[in-house]
Amino acid sequence: MESGNHLPHVEPTEEQEPDNLGFGFPVFLMSESVVFLSFFVTYTILRLTNKPWFPPGVDGLDVTRGAINTLVLVTSSGAIILAEKALHRGEMKLFRLLWLATISLGIVFLFGQAAEWAGMPFGLDAGSAGGTFFLLTGFHGLHVFTGVCLLLYMYWRSLQPHNFDGGHEGVTAIALFWHFVDVIWIILFILLYLWPVN
């Protein structure tokens, strides 16, 4: 009965580690998208039931500015796709270049967002329009910021020799995150900026 306790500890033969990150990270993103969904739903209900929506003297958001920001983010998503392709072909130089381009576009986006916030004619406490605008763009901006940090970290890792020998799970996960942030922005752009004022 006791004998099982004294069996020698055998190391199993080295097997291929399962790709946990490749499964777990998309699961996390799906979960995270529900937070955004809760904000989008709240925004939509409030907007449908409140007329006029914007505070007195304001007629809508700056669509041009929003469109430029959208363009920046979509381009960066394209850059990261190319970066991944370069990595798979083993072209490390090109990979780093495209990776840096993605980072720069992310930073440009953040500056664009900050400029828009600074010039906003209403604040966080300006009823439902104020609250939802700053909450949605702020929460999304936080994700862009996190994304930029992750991208920078991965850039630093790419400079370490042999770092990608074991696979590219980290790169794939960060790229996925970046696309996620991009898609959320597009929905946000449509809901916040393109919704007709009246």
Partner: protein, 544 residues
């Protein structure tokens, strides 16, 4: 007690290992259980103060705002710091062992998720010591009550409450990602979905539910925090806001949350009954899959908590029907458990007693649940003690009983030692009697119209309230034999072999307690679980 010879049980860790950061799922599992039990005692203490106040119709023990704080934190701590983490602790300990894995998929994430929970506890309990007192808006924290902030202080009870709920949410999401990935990616060779023990099915279903519904509450809590502290008006009806949206976000999570709590209990029943009835689980595949059905259906019933929240009639009818439908997969499980013990050779050991008691109380809760699902009836008893009675039969009568049963059942696995059976039975008797004395009276007084969350009441309700309070004090006492038994048995209990119950579960094939990385050789699984009808060697049966 610290210089007990620990070497007598191989792989046993010194007790102070459980106070340190560790990434071993078995250590984390026990850490969760120990921590959550401490919070259970705290929340139980709050409940006894509440019940002391309710012994008499007048307000005589505490003042009104403290009373509000007591029931708010009682509910919040019980749910977020007892039921959830205790379930997570069991799952942490058991899942890798049951699926034949060396550890979980993300051990570091798992450890961080655990260490966030004491922070939640400090935030919640600490809020009692603020000048503003603890949060007072009930565990659901409905606006506009919750966004009043009469004190004007930035740091107030409600603020800490929101921080705590958000932190616990982050921890739960980390846990969810970890569990789902573990079950999906780390199963031993041959362990197909339809060979997994039902407990694994219930954890997988519950954690998927958690992952997709909890973020709605997180979103709601963030907006509530902004309303409370930063001048937004999402839920402020006087400034373009809409408090009903919060109710939807809250219940979109918190109804599924009741299944996140209950599904693991269903899993525990399904593991323990066959062992003590020496029969295969009746309808294994149906029971396994109905866990998942419950999870899916559980996502579409939340408005039954809002029948009285200006909900339009078409919505009431839809959610009334969907709620009643959920009784189908749930009923399947109860039938399967009944069929499993039917004509079995029952061994009424403590874990089995807790399971049978838990199933009985769940049956009662299911019946009152169906009653509540009927909108016309609910309009009458909503916000009365009837609802409180209903959910205490589930969260205490079912889930807490299941957790107790699970702790007794897997105690020899975790420690290599046996608990004391007589003390276990005493604990069961006190718990079962105390629970029914405490929670049954809530139904008749609820039907008579006694509202919940009030500190003084009409004298006609006194008699039942006295019974309930006596039951509560009995429940408080019932923890004493449990604590004594666990502490004494963990250090001095009789040593038993690896599989004292003659269970066929994979976790019992490892040494007790299991070594680091659990299995010397990763097993290959070829058969369905619960093959108690196959000839097995029962000669090593240990009597206690």
């Amino acid at each position: 007690m610290t210089n007990q010879p620990t070497a007598s049980v191989p792989f046993q860790r010194p007790w102070h290992d459980y106070l340190k950061f560790s990434t071993d799922h078995k250590v984390i599992g026990i850490q969760y259980l120990l921590m959550s039990f401490c919070f259970f005692l705290v929340a139980g203490l709050l409940a006894m103060i509440i019940r002391a106040e309710l012994l008499t119709p007048q307000l005589d023990v505490v003042d009104r705002s403290l009373y509000n704080g007591l029931f708010t934190l009682h509910g919040t701590i019980m749910i977020f710091l007892w039921i959830f983490p205790a379930n997570v602790g069991l799952a942490n300990y058991l899942i890798p062992l049951m699926i034949g894995a060396k550890d979980v998929a993300f051990p570091v994430l798992n450890a961080i998720a655990f260490w966030l929970m004491p922070v939640v506890g400090v935030l919640l309990i600490g809020s009692f010591f603020l000048p503003t007192g603890a949060a007072q808006a009930g565990w659901w924290s409905y606006p506009p009550v919750s966004i009043q902030n009469p004190s004007g202080n930035f740091i107030n009870g409600e603020f800490l409450w929101l921080l705590a709920v958000a932190t616990s949410g982050v921890s739960s999401i980390m846990g969810g990602v970890n569990f789902v990935t573990t079950v999906w990616k780390l199963r031993a060779p041959g362990l197909t979905l339809l060979k997994m023990p039902v407990y694994v099915w219930t954890i997988l279903s519950a954690q998927i539910l958690q992952l997709f519904c909890l973020p709605a509450l997180t979103g709601g809590a963030v907006m509530l925090l902004f309303d409370l502290s930063f001048g937004t008006t999402f839920f402020d009806p006087f400034n373009q806001g809409n408090p009903i949206i919060y109710q939807h976000l809250f219940w979109f999570y918190s109804h599924p949350a009741v299944y996140v709590m209950a599904l693991p209990a269903f899993g525990v029943f399904s593991e323990i009954l066959p062992v003590f009835a020496r029969k295969p689980l009746f309808g294994y595949k149906t029971v396994a899959i109905s866990s998942f059905l419950i999870a899916i259906q559980g996502t579409f019933v939340w408005v039954h908590h809002m029948f009285t929240s200006a909900t339009p009639n078409w919505m009431r009818m839809f959610f009334m029907a969907s709620t009643m439908l959920i009784a189908v997969p749930t009923g399947i499980k109860v039938l399967a458990w009944t069929a499993t013990v039917w004509r079995g050779s029952l061994r009424l050991k403590t874990p089995m007693l807790f399971c049978l008691g838990g199933i009985l109380m769940f049956l009662f809760a299911g019946i009152t649940g169906i009653m509540l699902a009927s909108a016309p009836f609910d309009l009458h008893v909503n916000n009365t003690y009837f609802v409180v009675g209903h959910f205490h039969y589930v969260v205490f009568g079912t889930v807490t009983m299941a957790i107790y049963g699970a702790i007794y059942f897997w105690f020899p696995k975790m420690t290599g030692r046996m608990y004391n059976e007589a003390w276990g039975k005493l604990h069961f008797a006190l718990t079962f009697i105390g629970a029914n004395l405490n929670f049954f009276p809530m139904h008749p007084i609820g039907l008579q119209g006694m509202l919940r969350r009030i500190s003084s009441y009409d004298p006609e309700y006194t008699a039942w309230n006295v019974v309930a309070s006596l039951g509560a004090f009995l429940l408080g006492m019932s923890t004493l034999p449990f604590i004594a038994n666990m502490v004494a048995s963990a250090f001095q209990g009789r040593r038993v072999g690896n599989n004292p119950w003659n269970s066929l579960g994979l976790e019992w094939t490892t040494p007790s307690p299991p070594p680091e990385e659990n299995f010397e050789v990763i097993p290959t699984i070829t058969v369905e679980p619960y093959g108690y009808d196959r000839p097995v060697d029962l000669t090593t049966e240990v009597t206690t």
